[in-house]
Point group: C2
Chain length 325, copies 2
């Protein structure tokens, strides 16, 4: 197994994030239990600072930069949630941040990145390559880059979600039989899988991806990093990568059970359920695991199933359209 990140790295990240990241609630709600015929625990990372879990990895990495690196500022690329995490961590640490973002990213994500003091540089998602643009800019500025998933400190930081989840479940005297995690590049999934398997080796960990972006599910089956069709489209703006990360997949291939795939319609239904029954604002990508649960993608009857709600940054107009059905 890769030594990209291990449980000690996740624990170290947790110490660094104490007082920085919100210890988000692990919610048990009877409407959820009733809907799936089992016990459900929902980890509410939409209530996290910046509206998603991304502050955890970004702060963990950026707080470890040398003074010289911090002085030069950092460059990142992101569809929006990592951008906010990076910008907010930069504001906390006094590090100048620039983020390359797709011009069709949710307006709220771009606006909030700027509000946290980040420089947002927009590009066309379907013609440009954000990583190329970002790396050229970093070279020009002599700045470090902060990747959104494929880095040991990012993986370890996101893994603190899983560490908290298992501890909070234990405080309720519960051990999840399975945990569902929205998956894009695989950083949250890999980090959480490390922490979950350390606490409970028999707990199944399942990545959940949108249809058309099921690269991790297919890669887990084939054993090599599969690539999505470039024509794919999804309502889940936060879960659109071309292929799993290198480091993240090396971890995930050993740690994960089968990948689950959800449609846009299932994601929309989950967002309506969250609004009507749970009173939570969940963004499309953040609702993927909840959507898998509610649409019966795996057996939940009589089981204890945890699911991560990974973010809540959705534009007002899209949210209203989805709620109107």
């Amino acid at each position: 197994m890769s030594a990209a990140a291990g449980i000690d790295d996740v624990r170290s990240a947790a110490r660094r994030l104490a007082g920085i990241a919100v210890e988000t609630p692990l919610l048990r709600h009877p409407d959820l239990d009733a809907a799936v015929g089992g016990t459900v625990l929902l980890k509410l990372e939409n209530l996290q600072t910046t509206g998603s879990f991304k502050i955890r990895g970004a702060y963990n990495l950026m707080s470890r930069l040398t003074p010289q690196q911090a002085e030069a500022g950092i460059v990142a690329w992101s569809s929006g949630n990592h951008a906010q995490g990076v910008a907010a961590a930069g504001a906390m640490l006094g590090i100048r941040t620039a983020v390359v973002m797709p011009e069709d990213a949710p307006k709220a994500k771009i606006a909030r990145t700027r509000r946290f003091g980040g420089e947002a540089i927009l590009y066309d998602r379907y013609t440009g390559d954000r990583e190329v643009i970002a790396k050229a800019l970093a070279a020009e500025r002599g700045a470090e880059t902060v990747p959104s998933y494929d880095h040991p400190h990012i993986i370890a930081g996101q893994g603190t979600v899983g560490l908290e989840l298992m501890r909070q479940a234990a405080e309720m005297s519960l051990v999840p039989d399975q945990v569902l995690i929205p998956c894009s590049g695989g950083g949250l999934t890999a980090g959480c899988a490390i922490a979950i398997k350390d606490a409970s080796p028999l707990t199944g960990v399942h990545p959940v991806e949108p249809a058309g972006f099921d690269d991790t599910a297919r890669s887990l089956l084939s054993g090599r990093r599969e690539i999505n069709a470039s024509s794919s489209r999804s309502i889940c703006d936060a879960l659109q990568v071309a292929t799993p990360g290198n480091l993240t997949f090396e971890l995930n291939r050993h740690l994960l059970g089968d990948g689950l795939v959800v449609t846009d319609a299932e994601v929309r239904a989950a967002m309506r359920f969250a609004f009507l029954n749970l009173k939570l604002v969940v963004e499309p990508g953040g609702a993927a695991a909840l959507a898998a649960l509610l649409s019966g993608k795996l057996e939940t009857r009589g089981k204890i199933t945890a699911a991560i709600v990974s973010g809540g940054n959705v534009d007002t107009e899209l949210f209203a359209e989805i709620q109107a059905g």
Copy 2:
């Protein structure tokens, strides 16, 4: 002081509600702390079963009915949240429920009351008297009534919110300097004030009411139960009573600090803050205490202030309109 309800009654209610009511999160979020320049703790009763705190009092009372009373069913009157609490408690306890509701109550509240198995009987808020209608119906059926605030078991049940809040704050090593509570008839306020003052006699407890329905604020000043103008209108459908309860005011007059009053515009702004920053769905009345906080109705700088978000049952259309600003 009235012996309507005391701390032992609140503790007894908490034992009865274990495993029935959700132990809702007490959220600390940096965006809130930053907004008020102090420490904020938000008690999320919008995440409660039925979308508001009302299940607590309803279940506490209804679970104490004799078998004969339970067999005859119960009748209640409510603008919507108490209706859902009563209907859900009835479903849990196998008690038939009927609730008299204003015909202009949020559609979601009426629909959800019926979904929980409650019989919803609609009337005109501005010409009919729901209490008279409900009591006539109860007499006709030989059924007990379940008042929405002015009853010792209701007050004690709602007080479990305050009991949880103070315990959860203590687990964070915090003691609130002040607690803000959305106030209508005063049941939640009175019950919570009992629990808060028991845990920390120096903590200030402030009711928050919508402009035009500030009967408790004015009654606290005059020392007698003041009556609101019948022409009053407010976006807070859940916080519209004519005058404080008899039992609740007898408690509240001894336990509360000054009452705070918020405008519709301040409530709308708080609902937008909750959506954009906290990713929470809050109904107008449920946002009253948050609105008082965010609009600076009392000194929060350097203090620890807790606020109760009492409900999240808002119609999709109104929510979208408010978010669109």
